[in-house]
């Protein structure tokens, strides 16, 4: 547990030590995305939050998993006394926690805009909760997929695109399911979580293999 905390602490300190521009980018992203709930005409409901999770967790995945592999520092980390599981879970928990915190912030700000200019009664607290739950589940999927892809892809620059593709396919597949059998909408979250677990297990498998130190290129 101490080592897991040390990995999370390392990533947190690394994030705090980022250039100011990084915080500005996150700020702009949060602000711009927070206006989306005002546009009910888009008719997509909480699905937009899933794509926001792709953007946010994709950024964190790049910083946390990919940069470590690009610089080659992963092999030092893996031989320093941290277990491979601690490295994987520590990094995953950090990305998950940061993405969820930013999502929460975004939803909080969006509520302010809705109360000021939108129709608050039309967008109830249950919808907001469902949106946030979906965002968290989507983030789990992106973290798992990103962790695995950071090992598998020769060019990790593609991770956000793979994330978007995967999310689109999942949503499209889920949307197509009612054609076969009636499926309640709330099942999308658990489905995303199940997929996330699959990817995390794949990532765990690769973190314990040789691929983790193979060179990658941008």
């Amino acid at each position: 547990m101490k080592k897991l905390n040390a990995i999370i602490g390392k990533e947190w300190a690394g994030f705090l030590g980022s250039e100011r521009g990084v915080f500005s980018v996150y700020g702009i992203l949060v602000l711009s995305w927070s206006f989306l709930p005002l546009y009910k005409g888009l008719g997509t409901g909480p699905i937009w939050w899933l794509f926001f999770s792709v953007v946010i967790s994709g950024n964190f995945t790049n910083t946390v998993f990919v940069s470590e592999r690009l610089s080659g520092s992963m092999e030092v980390l893996l031989t320093s006394g941290f277990s491979r599981d601690a490295v994987l879970w520590g990094k995953s928990i950090f990305v998950l926690a940061m993405s969820c915190a930013i999502g929460l912030l975004c939803i909080g700000i969006s509520r302010i805009w809705v109360s000021l200019w939108g129709n608050a009664s039309a967008d109830g607290s249950m919808d907001v909760l469902y949106g946030f739950g979906l965002y968290c589940a989507g983030t789990c999927l992106n973290v798992g997929c990103g962790a695995w892809m950071s090992v598998r892809l020769q060019s990790p620059r593609l991770i956000p695109f793979v994330g978007i593709l995967l999310m689109s396919l999942t949503i499209a597949g889920f949307a197509a399911l009612p054609l076969i059998a009636p499926v309640p909408q709330w099942l999308l979250g658990p489905a995303l979580l199940c997929l996330a677990m699959v990817f995390l297990m794949l990532a765990r498998n690769d973190f314990n293999g040789e691929r983790i130190i193979q060179p990658i290129h941008l």
């Binding site: 092999e75 980390l77 031989t79 006394g81 130190i213």
Partner: protein
């Protein structure tokens, strides 16, 4: 009974059909430093990665501190120090923060880190960075980053160290400091493997040397006495050669100008040889460590291979 800290027997590594090295055997005991040399692309880094458990051996047995490296035991890694191609530091963090993370990985308290820095790094820039105002490691020069890597590698005085080109970019003082620390670690019983193209470092520090080439790891001829080559400028009198052979235990060679020999215990052997030669009427021009000894031996090794 001596316990081998790093051991591999008949170890091979293949990537698909490509064989990096085959049937390599190696044993490093406590308190010894092993030099690993070889041409570029010979597989030195791959061998170190296999010994560290970063790569799975394709065949043969490997143990480090009694553990199979590929099982990735935390207990093993906690007693291992490494300097690899990359320094492994988080660029956004200071060296103080970075050392704190690696200390946590090895279960060393921050007080222990501070005591270590105070005792062994007091005259270096690392001390100022740890105890004074510090900057992010991404702003360090290459040499400074290497010093930080060495500082991390020796942290907690591990039982075994793997160094891949540890002297790259080190200035004269940092190089001397590294040599001092290696001797301290050896005195504390650490087994060390140094892979380097800087043969002076290998010659100065290593007790034995292995050459990786043609997919095989072979010890240099003369075994552990390969390092510690000396030359004495003196005439080619056969009696002088006999004196040197009697004291060192191995036959010296004469190149027309100087006698060349290896002394496994130079502190006692070299004065004895000088004393005996003078007594035998030899006029000695110069006594010096053989700077090109290892280089020549490796060259000869390759020619034979």
């Amino acid at each position: 009974m001596s316990i081998t800290t790093v051991y591999c027997e008949g170890t091979s590594k293949r990537f698909g059909a490509s064989v990096v090295f085959d049937e390599c055997s190696l044993a490093i005991g406590p308190g010894t430093i092993y030099g690993l040399v070889g041409l570029n692309g010979a597989g030195k880094t791959t061998l170190i990665r296999v010994l560290l458990g970063l790569l799975k051996p394709s065949g043969g047995a490997v143990t480090v501190l009694g553990h199979v490296p590929w099982e990735h035991s935390e207990t093993m890694y906690a007693r291992v120090g490494v300097v690899l191609e990359n320094d492994g530091f988080a660029g956004n963090l200071t060296i103080r923060q970075n050392l704190g993370i690696f200390a946590a990985a090895k279960g060393i308290s921050w007080a222990g880190v501070e005591a270590y820095i105070r005792e062994f790094w007091a005259d270096t820039f690392v001390y100022g960075e740890v105890f004074g105002p510090s900057k992010k490691t991404k702003y360090f020069s290459r040499g400074q980053r290497m010093q930080c890597s060495l500082c991390r590698a020796f942290l907690g005085w591990p039982s075994v160290c793997f160094f891949d080109e540890p002297t790259v970019a080190l200035d004269v003082e940092a190089y001397d400091h590294f040599c001092r620390l290696c001797r301290v670690a050896r005195g504390r019983g650490a087994a060390m493997l140094i892979s380097s193209h800087q043969l002076s470092a290998v010659e100065e520090l290593c007790d034995s040397v292995g050459v990786l080439g043609n997919k095989k790891l072979r010890p240099l001829e003369n075994g552990s006495a390969v390092c510690g080559g000396w030359s004495i400028i003196a005439g080619p009198n056969e009696n002088y050669g006999a004196i040197i052979e009697r004291i060192t235990g191995s036959a010296p060679s004469h190149d027309g100008n100087a006698w060349h020999f290896t002394a496994s215990a130079p502190k006692t052997m070299v004065p004895d040889i000088v004393e005996e030669l003078v007594r035998a009427g030899c006029r000695i021009g110069e006594v010096s460590p053989d700077k090109n000894g290892l280089r020549e031996k490796i060259r000869t090794h390759y020619e034979k291979a």
